[in-house]
């Protein structure tokens, strides 16, 4: 694991492309004047689950999209299996992306396709289908894994949020990928469904030996699934270690985030603003 990075004279961190299965080297991402990722270096170890935590809007999803070149860095390099991918054109990336499964925050299921067609989609794109019954069997198997066998002919609009997320997970694992990227896998789910997803993540690592990167701010989920936790704050990595390291991290920002506590400054500000009506409504509300 590459938690310690040496900085060279020219400011580049001494991370090497072969330090992990996926390596992000000195990644900076700007949107206009807004720096979302600020010279981040990270090596993802094969077969392990790395969880990226941090407050909303800190660039977690942007970081995740860089690992599969869905976003290109303003500066820096991304490596997968020791091969640079951030400068590849889309055609060359097709082969690389077939090694990845991506669970999007809201599922990103295709509205116009049924559950079965959604799961078949990556299979159709990458495999020459000779026997349709084999694909149907594969779909059934993936749906069984996420506990939704029987919903093949449903459309995404007819599913609940939790079901959509599980179908999206079934689609993400359809090609038995080496790496699965989870963007907020438990957000918006009830605690039981969230735990089902956590167990699925653990099961996939155990049974398929996949490498996972999960982005979340659900600390219960992070502690449960993570081999390594990385915390992002203002575009920089401010903490990196296993669950115990993070629990005992000395940085107050890390402690405040993992405990889910409001800062004293924010609390003072909140208390100064009274909930009552020092500002009157500009109109009377009619009965």
């Amino acid at each position: 694991m590459n938690t310690e990075q040496q900085t060279t004279d020219n400011g580049q961190t001494g991370i090497k492309p072969d330090d992990g299965l996926i390596v992000l080297k000195n990644i900076t991402k700007r949107f206009g004047n807004n720096v979302v990722l600020d010279d981040i270096s990270l090596a993802i170890e094969k077969g392990k689950t790395t969880v990226v935590i941090g407050p909303s809007g800190c660039g977690k999803s942007v970081l995740l999209k860089h690992t599969i070149a869905l976003m290109r860095p303003t500066s820096g390099e991304v490596y997968f299996k020791n091969k640079r991918i951030d400068n590849l054109d889309d055609q060359l990336l097709t082969g690389v992306r077939a090694h990845f499964g991506y669970l999007f925050q809201a599922g990103a299921l295709f509205d116009s396709l049924s559950v079965a067609e959604n799961i078949m989609f990556p299979v159709r794109q990458h495999c020459q289908i000779t026997r349709f019954s084999a694909v149907e069997e594969l779909v059934r198997n993936k749906l069984k894994m996420v506990g939704l066998d029987g919903l093949q002919h449903f459309f995404p609009a007819n599913l609940s949020g939790g079901q959509r997320k599980r179908v999206a997970l079934a689609r993400a694992i359809a090609l038995d990928p080496e790496v699965i990227l989870y963007d907020e896998p438990t957000t918006g789910l009830d605690p039981i469904r969230a735990d089902v997803i956590n167990e699925l993540v653990l099961k996939l690592r155990k049974e398929l030996g996949v490498t996972s990167i999960a982005v979340t701010h659900d600390m219960k989920s992070a502690y449960k699934i993570a081999d390594r936790i990385v915390m992002l704050h203002h575009g920089k990595i401010i903490a990196d270690g296993d669950a115990d390291n993070i629990r005992s991290h000395p940085d107050p920002i890390v402690q405040q985030f993992i405990k889910g506590e409001i800062s004293l400054k924010e609390l003072e500000q909140l208390q100064k603003t009274s909930a009552g009506s020092s500002v009157r409504l500009p109109c009377d509300i009619e009965d």
Binding site: K65, I68, L70, D90, Q91, L93, T94, G95, V96, R97, A98, F100, Y102, F104, Q105, A106, A108, L109, F110, D111, F121, P122, Q125, H126, L181
Partner: protein, 279 residues
């Protein structure tokens, strides 16, 4: 010197920034258009994309037939009513067929059919792709190693390219029937004279020019609508804005392309038939 003044004046600075942004957008659009055209041409050679193209042809082409026919019919009927009084005033009402049919097949049929398609199909394409963009469905396609331009843009572009000319034929046909209905049935112009003057005045070249315009109008509308969908901003407002921009841009492009194509067709006509063009 100029830059020093510009940097000190925030309004000039903002204007330069906006101009730079617009120039960047034009470059981005040109790249998208080129990529879409190349990918579409490649898709023609690959039979695995045919089901996607058929599906889009059904949505874009077949379902647009009624509205295009209605548009064409009203154009023909309105032209007949408007032009009758002027021609009857100078005793040339039997020439009404030439006026109506040449206007319909050369200009009004193709342009109005394309504008109608830009509203019906272009708006739907932008809204669909824009929604897919904001709900990360386009990212999902890309993350699964599929080129979204190949999967989403190429079938739509091919369907628009191939079917806009076909729809123009429907608009022309109904325009001609609409003109005949008002002229012969309602205004009692001699049917034989109506058709013989029409046949004399309208060449295959005129009909062909209108249909060829359809390729350009369809291509422009598809590229603009898909580009706006792919680059749509977040939220319901973003999708709505993208649809409006796509329609306005498509409309202006259709009119501008029509102007350019008329110049080209006239030049070609006078090259091949130098004497006939003077008649």
């Amino acid at each position: 010197m100029f830059f020093a003044i510009a940097l000190r004046n925030p309004m000039i600075g903002t204007a330069i920034y906006k101009l730079g942004e617009e120039v960047g957008n034009v470059g981005q659009f040109a790249r998208f258009a080129w990529r879409s055209a190349v990918t579409s041409m490649q898709s023609v050679a690959k039979s695995d994309t045919y089901p996607l193209i058929w599906a889009q042809m059904l949505l874009i082409g077949v379902y647009s037939v009624p509205v295009i026919m209605i548009t064409g019919a009203f154009v023909g009927m309105t032209l007949a009513l408007q032009a009758y009084d002027q021609l009857a005033g100078i005793g040339l009402e039997e020439h009404l067929g030439v006026l109506i049919n040449i206007s319909v097949v050369k200009e009004l049929g193709p342009v109005l059919a394309a504008v109608m398609l830009a509203g019906r199909v272009g708006g739907a394409l932008t809204a669909e792709l824009g929604t897919m963009k904001v709900t990360e469905q386009i990212d999902a396609i890309e993350s699964m190693g599929t080129d979204p331009v190949k999967y989403l843009v190429a079938p739509r572009m091919l369907a628009c390219l191939l079917l806009t000319p076909a729809l123009i034929v429907y608009a022309d046909l109904l325009g001609i029937i609409g003109g005949w209905f008002i002229s012969v049935i309602h205004l009692h112009i001699n049917a034989k004279a109506y058709w013989s003057f029409s046949a004399y005045g309208v060449d295959l070249w005129d009909v062909g020019c209108g249909i060829i315009k359809g390729f350009f109008f369809g291509g422009a509308m598809a590229v603009i609508s898909c580009y706006k969908g792919f680059n749509c901003k977040e939220g319901a407002r973003g999708v709505g804005q993208a649809c409006t921009e796509a329609f306005v841009m498509s409309f202006i492009s259709i009119l501008a392309l029509d102007f350019v194509l008329v110049i080209i067709f006239k030049a070609l006509y006078s090259t091949f038939w130098p004497l006939k063009s003077l008649v």
